[in-house]
Symmetry: C2
Subunit: 244 residues, 2 copies
């Protein structure tokens, strides 16, 4: 793990790093030392590790809860080069959708391929970040919606260090099988008017989660609409409940 740069704003220390060829960012409270809870965040499709929705939440988790937060660019996103293999699949899929194939099934297939790479990548990031003195091996959580849900569900299912997860804006076609293996508490977010993930798909993914404690929050709005402010408050309460 190589630290590339370090800045600070509003009490939040931001360290850009690379781990092999994975670009990542770690946020911690200014001047923090010792063990603290860590949130791994997965960004959405076409976004990156410092997208506004990630940054806003990361700053709140750090400032209000004293947590560490880490996010990495997904292959083909942010500071990573275009991946020729994923690019080829995407181009093929566009042709298959144009030819009438089901988009949801193609997205599911594609996310499963990418997850085979990101699950071990994020596990390596977790190893590296938890070995830092100002993070340590405290309890960990995961936050990710949309692509961050498609890749997050197999990650949370595979990674026993994750003790609680906020997921959402994803469907059962992509994620029901690994979702059934999740047993930690989940807060699951739906947009009631999601034009990309059919409502029945979102409800079926919530239903598929194996967790004894899971809570569904649905609000009016389309896929990419900004979630109501009270949902971020709820997420802060959720992680505080389960990681402290």
């Amino acid at each position: 793990m190589r630290i590339i740069s370090e800045t600070s704003s509003d009490g939040v220390r931001e360290q850009l790093f690379t781990l092999g060829d994975i670009p990542g960012v770690l946020w911690t409270p200014d001047g923090a030392t010792g063990i603290r809870p860590l949130i791994v965040m997965g960004h959405g499709g076409g976004q990156h590790k410092k997208a506004p929705g990630i940054l806003t939440r990361a700053h709140r988790f750090v400032r209000e809860c004293g947590f560490a937060v880490v996010a990495a660019d997904v292959p083909g996103h942010g500071d990573r080069p275009v991946d020729p293999e994923y690019d080829r699949i995407n181009t093929e899929n566009q042709a298959r959708v144009a030819a009438g194939e089901d988009l949801a099934a193609l997205i599911a297939e594609f996310q499963a391929v990418v997850a085979r790479q990101t699950v071990p990548e994020w596990q390596a990031v977790l190893d590296a970040v938890q070995s830092l003195e100002h993070v340590g091996t405290g309890p960990a959580g995961y936050w990710g919606v949309s692509l961050g849900c498609g890749l997050g569900v197999p990650f949370v299912a595979a990674e026993p260090r994750i003790r609680a997860a906020v997921l959402g804006l994803g469907g059962a076609a992509a994620s029901a099988e690994p979702a059934a293996r999740i047993t930690v508490p989940v807060e699951f977010l739906m947009q009631w008017d999601d034009e990309r993930v059919p409502r029945t798909q979102g409800l079926a993914l919530f239903d598929a989660l194996g967790s004894a404690e899971k809570t569904l929050h649905a609000n009016p709005g389309k896929h990419a609409d900004i979630l109501p402010a009270y949902e971020l408050d709820s997420t802060v309460h959720f992680f505080t409940r389960h990681l402290t």
Copy 2:
């Protein structure tokens, strides 16, 4: 309005009253004077104005938020006599269900009949309670699930003084029509394994709500299972957001 008795515990003043033949209870902070937000609470079927689920919530609203809370016995419940007309309908309905008729439709029909009585009763209770010096005409909210939702939806739809409502454990068959006339913010609670209200019915009632701001919270559990503690926290935040 006639005050029958007054007690106090844990900083909460409890006044039992009758308004005509409606028995009710008002909770306010000990020693409170002046205007404050008021929550009207509707109890569940077979329950009464001081059922444990009502009492627990009322005490939190009073102690944590400084609100006033009022609940009245629904006809045929608590301190009210058996209503011969409702009793006759219930007996008839039991026979109709035994003969194979749809229970949900019969419940819907019955609740609509009762609501024609309870809506004006609760409006009269609101008038009376808000005329008291230690309540006053502040913003008002409504809380009710199950029967409290079936009777609450037409009440909230009819009563412009209600500015925010927590509803749930009810279905569209009973309540979709008045629900469409509700425009205030709603927090809607579902039990994901509700054996009395089919899941599709609950989702359809949430969908039918006319409110621009509405949020669905679903958790594993059967109809009468106790809601998770974090839902009560969420309800406290919801009313605080909208009534203060």
